[in-house]
């Protein structure tokens, strides 16, 4: 049975850590915190992965908690979403090896909960307690144009995530639904509403192909949704000629409290979940097709002690494909490794 092993502990933040997000290509971790800063961490040396140091601190950009952080696909820019209702855009100056806040996007009425950068690097999405999802386009010279303000959720929107290769957005909300957004001739619209969870949907993630979504909810379950295109073989109706998503698997009974975060590895297809019951769980797929089956293979209890685990993220590339980063209310970020005991 595989198990999770602690690789490193990253201490330094003065308040809870909300997210721990990996750089898209390098071995660098970004953490954002209630102490209004973002810290970048890297291993102290190539040979010793257990000792990490903080290589940068991004400060002074926000007046309140930084709830979410996202890297651009190139890794040269970052977006920070804050409870102060603004989104900061930061750029890495290679010559001075420094990060600078080059733009502040305003518009949301209150706390921004999540920010996500599309795989093309051209679009940015933010969502907020004001029930709206905003889509921005990256222009040259640090200007961001608002492309659309989508107001179809009926409650606080907790998270947004882009499809791994297409410009399709998914959002998760306190209204118990997930919405899929597409663009039609400059107008963004909601092409599908995924219902099934019986409470707040806190997080979601796409699989490597983008055909499936995993969602984590306050109803203590994880749901796997599969995309069905119009005229699909299974006969699933697709209203308005857009692909639709259906639940193909529900993972329940694995967590005793709200599940706050979920991550689908783009390297090894594992799913990791983090919950208010203080455990992290890893699942692997044991059967595919239209009725897939998933099995829990590894668990860490009290990963952050008695504190909530806010975020779990798999390493994005082969280099450390078995690594997981977690962020907790204890102000610490941890890196774990999935070890296959044979």
């Amino acid at each position: 049975m595989p198990r999770l092993e602690l690789v490193a502990e990253l201490e330094g933040h003065q308040d809870r850590v909300w997210q721990a997000i990996w750089h898209p290509t390098k071995t660098i971790l970004a953490t954002c915190s209630g102490d209004k800063t973002v810290r970048l961490w890297a291993p102290a040396s190539h040979s010793d992965m257990s000792s990490w140091q903080c290589i940068h601190t991004l400060d002074g950009g926000h007046k309140r908690t930084i709830r979410s952080v996202a890297w651009s696909p190139s890794g040269n820019e970052m977006a920070t979403a804050s409870f102060d209702a603004t989104t900061g855009i930061w750029e890495h100056d290679m010559r001075e090896n420094d990060w600078e806040c080059v733009a502040t996007l305003e518009g949301h009425e209150n706390e921004i909960k999540s920010v996500a950068w599309s795989s093309s690097g051209q679009l940015l999405a933010t969502c907020s307690r004001d029930k709206s999802v905003w889509i921005w386009e990256v222009e040259s010279d640090n200007d961001f144009e608002c492309l659309s303000v989508l107001q179809e959720h009926s409650q606080d929107v907790k998270m947004v995530a882009w499809h791994p290769h297409q410009e399709i957005l998914a959002s998760a909300s306190y209204d118990d639904t997930i919405k899929i957004w597409r663009e039609d001739d400059d107008d963004w619209y909601c092409s599908d509403t995924l219902q099934g969870h019986t409470s707040t949907v806190w997080a979601l993630d796409f699989d490597a192909s983008g055909d499936q979504i995993v969602s984590a909810s306050d109803d203590q379950t994880l749901r796997i949704w599969k995309m069905y295109k119009p005229n699909n073989a299974q006969g699933i109706p697709t209203p308005s000629n857009d692909p639709t998503y259906r639940t193909v698997c529900t993972l329940s009974g694995y967590h005793g409290r709200c599940i706050y975060s979920v991550s689908w590895s783009k390297v090894n297809n594992h799913i990791a979940s983090a919950s208010g019951d203080n455990t992290i769980r890893v699942f692997t797929q044991t059967a595919g097709g239209d009725e897939p089956a998933w099995e829990a293979v590894a668990t860490i209890k009290d990963a952050h002690g008695v504190h909530d685990i806010n975020n779990v993220t798999w390493f994005p590339t082969q280099q450390h494909g078995d690594w997981l980063a977690t962020a907790g209310d204890d102000g610490v970020a941890r890196i774990w490794r999935l070890v296959q005991d044979d």
């Binding site: 518009g107 209150n110 640090n142 659309s148």
Partner: protein, 544 residues
Amino acid sequence: MAFSSALVLTDLNDYIAPSQACIKPVEVEKSEDQGPTEIKVDLEGDYYEISKDGGESKLEKASITLNDCLACSGCVTSAESVLITMQSQEELYGILNTNRLAIEHNDPSQHRTIVISISPQSRASLAAKYNMEPLQVHKRLVYFFKHHLGAHHVFDTSFSRDLSLVESAREFVDRFRRYMANGGEKLEAALQQQDAEKQQEAEDGKRRPRARRRAAAKNEDGDGSATQQDMPMLASACPGWVCYAEKTHGAVIPHITAAKSPQQMMGTLVKDYLASKTNTSPSAIYHVSVMPCYDKKLEASRPDFFLEQFNTREVDCVLTTGEIEKMFMEQNVQFDRLPEAEIDDMFNKTVTNAEMQMAFGTAGSSSGGYLEYILRTAARELFNIHDVPTDPATAPNNARVIVKTGKNADVREYFLQGDDGRILLRFATAFGFRNIQNIVRKVKSGKCSYHYVEVMACPGGCVNGGGQIPNPNSEEVLSAKDWVSRVESVYQTVPGVAPEENEVLKSIYDEWIGDPSSERAHKLLRTQYHAVTQSLANPLATKW
């Protein structure tokens, strides 16, 4: 934004949505802790606080009026029902009834002159629904209001819109001159230089790599444009936009033109000019306007449009196109079977000659044609250019004005070219929330290079207002988008006539106002805006 989400049309959700926080939290003065208090309610429902020594002090009722909710709709009082009951056809029926009784009992003091002003956008909406021409709709509305219901005058706000256009253009020319005198000339020269360089690059086939500007460069546009407030000038005719700006982006308020909207210009015409002409007290006139949206109700109830001296509003009641349709049903009237009455009231834009009658409007977008008119006037007054087309967007091959569509159909840029190829004026339209966001952001950061922006809250312009008649067809027959296009094309069938050619208006203006730069002119034709400041004194309003 006080715009009910129930009014959002499918597929077109770019409206400013209700906000989440009340801007008027109840202020509770913290007094010294005097221990537990007792509250008593008397028979009239008044609340009294009984202090320790037995004395009673009447408690003030916390009240939130429609005016408070001008730019906010995050709570109970913003419910559509409140908006509707305070300005509804019920009110109009009430006044009509009082009139009837006044005549019966021969009591002129209870009688009010009822004036109805119809907007061309509402007219177009009805025309599209009943498959008629706007003129036919207008004539039937005259019959409905005057002959069936008992109103006294029916006016067309296309008439008062001319006043609004002229005043806006006048203000623009003043602002532009001021701007040029205060550093604008250098700025323009620099921008024209940039244009020339870009042109050169394009011709040479070279492309300079775009360097990302550093944060320090943010304020370093080298022009202090962030501090000057004359340019760009932003349209004021849309109350949805104005209320949103007042509440959320107070910094852009100095940019909004002070000229009143067509609705309020008509209000001034009716309650000042008409009142004095007919020797009637303004409070004895009941002015109803028929508009394409609900925000016009909020505009009518702004304190700035309340005539304290006469205890009356310039516009007493606003009814949406949809509400007028309801009236037809309530009155058991089949609109398409109504006879047509003559349009004989003075504030209309029709021309009758021997053969026929024609209705006229203004060239340009369905939101009033502000951009087109101001562009033409400014070109003439500032640069002595007389060949600007009345509607540049429909004259694509003209060399004088280059029209470019932006990211989406609701953003268009208009560039006025001088004879030497330099761009002299840069105008733009920005309809809908996402485009408003972009304009506001640019203005706030001093990066807005436009001189005038026609800002409107509704994507697609006023024909797509929240109070217009919804698509009567099913989606398969005609989509919502196509319905809006149809209403727009019906609107455009009314040919435009420039305000300068409105002879009736000119003579009224000369008689009534005289000097356009006088204080009296400003008092009658201009208004003010007020940034809404949120007082966060109330701990209950704390967000976390």
